[in-house]
């Protein structure tokens, strides 16, 4: 019996999806299952994991309350700062920039991604360090300014590091925006600012929410920037996880924190999607 075209189509689809599905299963689903299993286990006396079924790790989450609090504060504040800086850039690129230079300008936004974040953050350590800006300030008579290892340096690093991730989705949604809607708004008597808040901003909200969700989620796991530009004096979930897995080798507790973090991320995503749907007036919005 010959296979029907319908079956054939399905087989082809399955064959095309198989590598990605296998990859996701082996490198995402399986590790996650392992982490969930670990989270209900116990720490072995010499560190690592010992099979057991206990809620002890979850009951102990309070011991990292400060890490959760710092992270849940930093992530949205960082994402918001990114947004404030990114929106005008995206707006300029999508609406104001001459189409002739647009591609070049958009590439410039992406180019930093070609080098490792570590190298770029390290560069900031120099710029903010004693021989960078403070040294230049000394030459005009302002002595002993310390920029590195301050909360300001961390926020700067975060905005710097995550800016492209925020710019791109906003740029895409602004570029898709029908210019005639802006003309229609002006035609109906709306001043530029009213047009922006009444039309442009709401219609670019899917992009904004994608950017905010993306940056927030990544910030929830951020480790390098606070460590290098903040001097490791502020403790985030990322730091807690590194310490638990690589130093004290308390895998079950680390797993419990990781599982909790995943739950928080899913929760944030759901909220962000809901907001985007409401504003865009349609469910045809994909986040992340």
């Amino acid at each position: 019996m010959a296979t029907s075209p319908e079956t054939k189509k399905r087989l082809v689809t399955a064959a095309l999806l198989a590598p990605a599905s296998l990859w996701l299963f082996v490198f995402l689903v399986l590790p996650f299952i392992a982490i969930v299993v670990f989270a209900f286990g116990e720490r072995a006396p010499e560190g690592g994991y010992q099979p057991s079924f206990t809620l002890e790790q979850f009951a102990n989450l309070g011991a990292r309350a400060a890490a959760f609090k710092n992270t849940l504060l930093l992530a949205p504040v960082g994402a918001f700062l990114c947004l404030v800086v990114a929106y005008p850039v995206a707006y300029y690129l999508a609406v104001k920039a001459s189409p002739r230079y647009r591609l070049v300008l958009v590439s410039l936004v992406v180019v930093p991604f070609w080098t490792s974040l570590l190298v770029r953050v390290y560069a900031w350590m120099y710029i903010l360090g004693a021989r960078g800006i403070p040294h230049l300030l000394e030459m005009i008579g302002i002595e002993n300014v310390r920029l590195l290892n301050t909360p300001g340096a961390v926020l700067l690093g975060i905005v710097y590091g995550y800016l492209p991730l925020m710019i791109m989705p906003i740029y895409v949604s602004l570029e898709k925006l029908d210019r005639r809607l802006l003309e229609a708004s002006a035609d109906l008597g709306a001043k530029p600012l009213s047009t922006f808040f009444g039309i442009t901003l709401p219609l670019s909200l899917p992009g904004v929410m994608t950017g905010v969700a993306l940056v927030t989620i990544l910030l929830l796991g951020e480790y390098l920037i606070p460590q290098l530009l903040g001097g490791g004096k502020v403790f985030f979930i990322g730091n807690a996880l590194v310490d638990l897995f690589l130093q004290s080798r308390n895998w079950p507790f680390g797993s419990a924190i990781a599982v909790t973090l995943v739950v928080v991320v899913v929760f944030i995503l759901l909220i962000a999607m809901r907001i985007a749907w409401r504003f865009a007036g349609t469910r045809q919005v994909d986040l992340v």
């Binding site: 390290y122 004693a130 230049l136 290892n149 480790y223 460590q227 490791g232 310490d243 004290s248 080798r249």
Partner: protein
Amino acid sequence: MSKDYKDNLPISASGFMDEFMRLKRGSVSRRHFLGITGLGLATAVMTRFPGALSTPAYAAEDLGTQMSIATWPNYHDPATFENFTAATGVAVEVNVFGSNEEMLAKLQAGASGWSLFVPTNYTISTYQKLGLIDELDMSKVPNFSSTTQNTRFTSEGQIDGKTFAVPKNWGTTGFAVNTDKLKTPLKSWKDFFEIAQTEADGRAMVHDYQLTTIGSALVSLGYGFNSIDAGELAKAEELLIKVKPHLYAINSDYQPSMRSTDAWMTMCWTNDGAQLNRDMPEIAYILGTDGGEIWTDFYAIPKDAPNKAAGYALLNYLMDPTNAVKEHIANGAPATDSRVIELLPKEITSNKIVYPDEASLTPLEFGAAVTLTDPARAELMARFKSA
């Protein structure tokens, strides 16, 4: 301002890349930083040609054609392995690690494939307890000479009178001080924590590593480096949390900050202290008169080593002073074997940072296995960092 500002600006592209590559190689902070950034898991294959061409010089036993070793970044003279391969026909695959914890996890997971590895003193008892290493058959390491070894360093390799590991090199954990910036002479960990809150306010660094940070705080209060006594730990916690707002950073990657003079004072390991002092003579390396850490890295052979014969052959090769001396010249860490020290150039052995007086080593303690894995200390560190 008489100097050109460029003299002090290290932001030249080449300078930056040098610094970054140094960081990446892991010579900055003795391996800790590598582990957490994930840069340390790189595997380098030194030589891999089949041994058919060379005739094994001492082939009493079949050594095979290949073995692998787990060690620390930038810790060996690459020529050592090439020479070993030339002599025996065994190609050596080198795996570098970021932390003892990672090394332990990998060996515990099984099938590591190593026939020799380089654990630090405080992990050896754990490896032995978990049955991951065997007692060494010293008859296969004739180049090892117990009489020329400093017993201060060999003892951590002995458990119940049996030798499980032999020393590679040793070092200390003291602190580095920029004497241009800080005029008060510092002698002890007590001084360190006091000055950190006063003259060096906002300019002192401690490790992001509970063993040394909590250990040094305990020492400054007159307690033992390895204490897990709840009352003593509570006192140390109180001190650390009081000092924290005055700290510049909690970070084991302290060389860049010391070099840029952002930080004026830091907890410091021997090799870093020597490097900082070599490049910036105003930075002094000080061992606390009230105590501190001393450490040794050992060679050991995993129980499940796939090529034990080659592992022993390489170990024996490395115990030959003429081979070992090249290793010490390459990595800069002090040697434990007097035969090696005799072969070292004078400018190395006369460096008081690398080879301090015996007397200054007396108050120092080896880190203990229980200290490293104690959950109470881990939680204390987390509270300190999140305070």
